[in-house]
Subunit: 336 residues, 2 copies
């Protein structure tokens, strides 16, 4: 008997639990509206390292250690770690986690990676392959900027639709028992590509993927947006969020005050010069672990849909004239 | 009750089945000793495309379609696809599979990706989250060479320990019922780094990871190398294979005639100028699907240990003076 409902949604029986969670961010994120929520804010973006790539690895390592600590676990208590980041060959994760001695699954889902990692952690735990898993992702403005765009020193100008890569890493410990926020459903996304070629407008490329996954989830579960206290994408930012609302309205779903986006929540749009908003694997991860999960535990939110969205292009594919394939994975968290 | 034995090994109850499988390769692989085994050999390495990256995407798409065909399935019959490749941001898979409309998990495990994808497919099926999954990976000599090493036109010389990236893509359909080769155990690897910095000697970097995963599997299952008809790594090539044998002999395990390596099997070492042997996500995938699974179905092999090995560095990490973290995931196939 498959643990699925409808066409695309997993329904968990013994709900996997978020037993520990952590958020580690850079200075700019610490200066933003959620600055007081994070476990650790670095005074600069080097995290004491000599390169930005090593800084990203240090950050992801810190995030895992803090999450382990909060869950009261040691690395030996964790069966699997599901990890990924934006760097070529995912070196943020590979180097940051190499000393842990935990069985490791490397993932690439661009900015959707946190929801992908949580889905797989929940499946591993619920499928009885693991007692405890960690899902962790990271991104770093400086390592991403020079890899995907221009050398930092160039000071390239950005368009209004461009997003700012968050410097941050978030981790969750997903367990088969204990107390905490629970995972009720997952809807894994399909790759979507409506032909957007503007790499400075990833919100537009990703919005259709988010709309598809959300509407499949609503159909599969026979629910509506108003059944949830918060529906949060990560990261469509301003441009993509507007498009998502429009796309879903065509299908009869109205996203209202209970909708937000991690890329909008993390920065002060007017004062922090981030154009459309935040992005990066670390953005949805730290907004989830620094802001959303604590609010759920405080009783402010009961049912939350968390939709990680990823733009699956590379600088090479864009230079070759390709459009931007995108994906969105949904996780339904509940305190019920 | 966890489906695990020992410290690190998953033991499946209803064994997941390989219901379809395919192998698509380039000209050089077609000219090698396994040339006659593959489903499709391209007369050149372009696969009718204008860039090598697009060729890789075409190849991975072909591999999935052939595997679907052999299993008698349409894309709508597949719940999840687990895919990855070597290209930055895994564009081989993202672009190659974007039109399928199958729920998609992107992976990065370097040359270990096929064993990672098969492990996760088996977990998804056995955990009752899916009826059918596809695991697929690819690599392409020309796209890998220019990304990881030098422009092709440069004609860079190689050291004796260097490996030749296989142009190929292999796919398997993993199902919860039917007939075919079965998956009995998986041992997911931990990241290992003994300090090797020579990027032209990835066999040496990966051998310790393979040794660790294999010895953990032998301890967990209380078995020895002689209990298996074939133990095959992918891809340590000549250099790494010798080191693996030595490392395992220190732990009391002798790998003898029943041991081989996908990177050794795929080329004629003397005539094809591949130095230490083959490598790339596609290498172990096509040797598995073109050579090993058919031999199992023909009754020539009953129990096979397939150990995908991945070197998790990037050109950036190597330029920054880092060593090469590695990983190895084991899958135990059986016809019993």
């Amino acid at each position: 008997m498959l643990k699925r409902i409808g066409k695309s949604t997993i329904v968990f029986n013994n709900l996997p639990i978020i037993k520990g969670f952590s958020s580690v961010v850079g200075k700019k994120e610490g200066d933003g509206p959620l600055g007081g929520c994070f476990d650790f804010v670095s005074p600069d973006d080097t995290f004491g390292q000599t390169t930005f790539e090593k800084a990203e690895s240090a950050m992801i390592k810190d995030a895992v250690n803090i999450a382990l600590n909060k869950a009261g676990y040691l690395p030996k208590d964790i069966n699997y770690i599901f990890a990924g980041d934006l760097l070529n060959q995912c070196i943020g994760s590979n180097y940051g986690l190499r000393e842990l001695g935990i069985q490791f699954f490397g993932l690439y889902g661009a900015c959707s990676t946190m929801s992908e990692a949580i889905s797989l952690s929940a499946m591993a735990v619920n499928g009885e392959f693991a007692k405890n898993c960690i899902a962790v992702t990271s991104s770093h403005f400086c390592s991403a900027e020079r890899q995907f765009r221009f050398p930092l020193e160039y000071g390239g100008q950005r368009t209004g639709t461009a997003q700012w890569t968050v410097t941050g890493s978030g981790a969750v410990v997903v367990s088969n028992s204990g107390k905490g926020v629970k995972i009720a459903h997952c809807t894994v996304g399909k790759i979507n590509d409506l032909g957007i070629k503007d790499v400075n407008n990833m919100g537009a490329a990703m919005a259709p993927a988010a709309a598809q996954t959300l509407s499949e989830f609503f159909i599969d579960t026979n629910t509506k947006p108003q059944n949830y206290d918060l529906i949060v994408t990560g990261d469509l930012a301003q441009t993509g969020s507007l498009l998502l609302k429009k796309l879903l309205s065509y299908e009869g779903y109205d996203l209202k005050e209970n909708y937000n986006d991690c890329g909008i929540l993390i920065y002060n749009q007017k004062e922090q010069d981030v154009h459309s908003g935040g992005s990066g694997c670390g953005c949805s991860a730290v907004v989830l672990t620094g802001h959303i999960i604590p609010r759920m535990l405080a009783g402010q939110l009961e049912n939350v849909l968390f939709i990680g969205t990823g733009a699956l292009m590379s600088p090479t594919s864009i230079l070759q004239g390709e459009s931007i394939p995108s994906i969105a994975h949904l996780v339904h968290f509940t305190t019920n």
